[in-house]
Symmetry: C2
Subunit: 295 residues, 2 copies
C-alpha cells in the first residue's frame, strides 16, 4: 500500500507503534523502514534512533538501516543490499511517495511530545553515502514533503506544547488515495539557463544535443546538490549542461568526474568532460560530488 | 521579467489592457503573447480571440498567434517561426512560468465579467499542431496552473456574479518573486510501473538501460497524452518504457512511430521499436501521437 491509507489523516496521533500498525500507517512493529526493493518503501519512522538523522520539518535527512548494535551505536557499514535501504532507492527511482511517521524523542523540534504522529507523504529526492558520526559508512536519504503535504507541527525547543495547526482530524479531512506521483522534478533557473546557453544545449558528458521542433532541450545539473545535507552553491561553476540521461546518472552517482575532468561512468573512464572557456567549473563542487559517491 | 511582477496579486483586475500594461502584468497593448524565442513568454492574454481555444480554469488550450484576418477568422497556417509561438516553445523547453491574463468574453465561465484579470502563473506542459476549426494548421499550447496558483474565479454560465474567492487583494498577499521553476515533471503510476517492469527499464527506442547504484532508471511515456486536448487513455497499451532522452523527444514530436513500429527520429528511420509479448501496444494511440506531429 503505497500512498495515503484510507481512514487516516495527516497529523493523526498514535499512542504506540502497535496502534500505528493497526491503522496501516506503518506496518512493522520494530523496523524503521517498511517496504521492499521491488515495490519501494511504504513508510518510515523518524524517532531518533540514528544520530546522523537531521530533521528540518519539510526536509528530512534520514539515515538508512543497518550496522547498529543494540544500543544504537554504529558498529559497521551500511549497505544498499539491506532491504529497507533498497526500498528507499526504489522509491527514489520510481518517484513513489513515502509515508512519514514521527516518534517522540529528544533533540527534534518536529517530533511529537509523546507517542507517534503521521505527518503525510514525502518523496525521496536524493541519496548518498558518507562517513557517519561513529566512523562507519552510512547511507542517507533526503526526503522532502510534497507541496500539498501540510507542514508538520513544531514544538517549542525542548518539549512544551504543540504549536500550529494540523493535529486535529476536524482540520484535515481524510485525503483521497494518491494515484499519481512525481517521479522526477527538474527545476530551471537563471544560473542553469546561462550554462545551457554557453553549451548551446549540448551535453557536456556525452555530446548529445536533443533537437525538437522549435528548439533544443538540455538540463542544468548541480554537481554539489543544493540544500541540506550537501549545501552546494547555486552558481554556474556548480552546474553542468547535460542531457536528461546523463543528468539522471550524475544525480545517482553512476557518473562522477575526476579533477582532470575525466568522466567516470560505472568506474570506467569515458574521456574528458566537454568545456567552454566562458564556463569556469568549481572543482570543489566536482570533488564533493565525487567523494559523495566514492569514499 | 519572467514570473510574478512586484506589487501585483493573483486575482487583480484591470479595466483595460493599458492598465495591465502599466502594472507590468502584460506589456503589449495588442499582442496576445509577450515574449521572445530567446527568453520565453512572459505573459499571455486569454480573451476569446481564437475560436479553437479551450479554457478549463486550471488548464488552458491556447491557440498560437498568426494566420488571422481582422475579423479573427483563420485565413492561413500558423508557424513556430512566429515570435510569440516561438516564445511559448521556449517556455516549455526551459520550464519557465507564464503569467495568464484573462479578458472578458462570451463563452467562457473562467473569463471575468468585464475588463481583465491576472490569474497567476501557468507552465506550458505540451504543444502540438492540428487542423483548426477554420481548416488551417494551428499550433496549440497546453498551459497548466502551478499547484500553488490559486484557482481562477468561476462565473455562472452566462455572465452573473463572480463566485469563489480570489478577487480581493486582501485575500492574496503579493507573492514573492518566483526564482526557481519546474522544467519537467514526470509522474509515475501503476500503469507505468508495469510497463517499465516488462521491459526491465530498457528503452524501447534506443535500447539504453540506465544503471545507477541500487537499481535501474527508466520513464513511462504516454504516446497519446493524457488530458485535454488529446485525452489519451491511461493504459499499458498507451505507455512506452523510455530513457529520459527518448521521452523528451517523443513528447516534443522529434520521435514518432509508424504503424509497422518503425521509429522515425527527425524524419529518419531508426529501426524498429523494441517490443515484449506481454506488452500489447494500442496502435490508435501511436497513430494519434504521429498525426499530432505529422499532418
Amino acid at each position: 500500500m503505497i500512498g495515503e491509507v484510507p481512514n487516516t489523516w495527516v497529523g493523526q496521533e498514535f499512542r504506540s507503534r502497535r496502534l500505528a500498525h493497526e491503522a496501516g500507517v506503518h506496518r512493522p512493529l520494530q523496523a524503521g523502514i517498511c517496504g521492499t526493493k521491488k515495490d519501494g518503501a511504504e513508510s518510515i519512522v523518524v524517532s531518533g534512533g540514528y544520530k546522523d538523522d537531521e530533521d528540518y520539518g519539510d526536509v528530512i535527512i534520514y539515515t538508512g538501516h543497518g550496522g547498529q548494535d543494540s544500543s544504537n551505536n554504529q558498529v559497521g557499514d551500511q549497505s544498499l543490499e539491506d532491504p529497507g535501504n533498497a526500498a528507499l532507492v526504489t522509491s527514489h527511482l520510481e518517484g513513489l511517495p513515502v509515508r512519514v511517521l514521527r516518534g517522540a524523542h529528544n533533540g527534534s523540534r518536529w517530533a511529537p511530545a509523546q507517542g507517534y504522529r503521521y505527518d503525510g507523504l514525502y518523496r525521496v529526492t536524493s541519496y548518498s553515502r558518507k562517513l557517519g558520526i561513529d566512523g562507519f559508512l552510512i547511507w542517507q536519504f533526503r526526503l522532502e514533503a510534497y507541496d500539498d503535504t501540510p507542514h508538520p507541527i513544531q514544538r517549542d525547543a525542548l518539549g512544551g506544547e504543540d504549536v500550529g495547526a494540523g493535529n486535529s482530524p476536524a482540520g484535515n479531512e481524510a485525503p483521497e488515495r494518491v494515484t499519481s506521483t512525481v517521479q522526477r522534478i527538474v527545476r530551471s533557473s537563471a544560473v542553469k539557463r546561462q550554462v545551457k546557453a554557453w553549451h548551446d544545449n549540448r551535453c557536456q558528458i556525452c555530446a548529445v544535443r536533443i533537437e525538437v521542433p522549435g528548439g533544443a532541450y538540455s538540463e542544468g545539473a548541480h554537481m554539489q546538490a543544493l540544500g541540506s545535507p550537501h549545501n552546494g552553491p547555486d552558481t554556474t561553476g556548480n552546474v553542468l549542461c547535460l542531457c536528461p540521461n546523463c543528468h539522471v546518472m550524475l544525480d545517482a552517482g553512476a557518473i562522477v568526474i575526476k579533477d582532470d575532468l575525466t568522466v567516470l561512468r560505472g568506474g570506467v573512464e569515458m574521456g574528458p568532460l566537454r568545456t567552454d572557456p566562458r564556463h569556469m567549473l568549481d572543482l570543489s563542487c566536482m570533488r564533493q560530488h565525487r567523494e559523495r559517491w566514492q569514499l
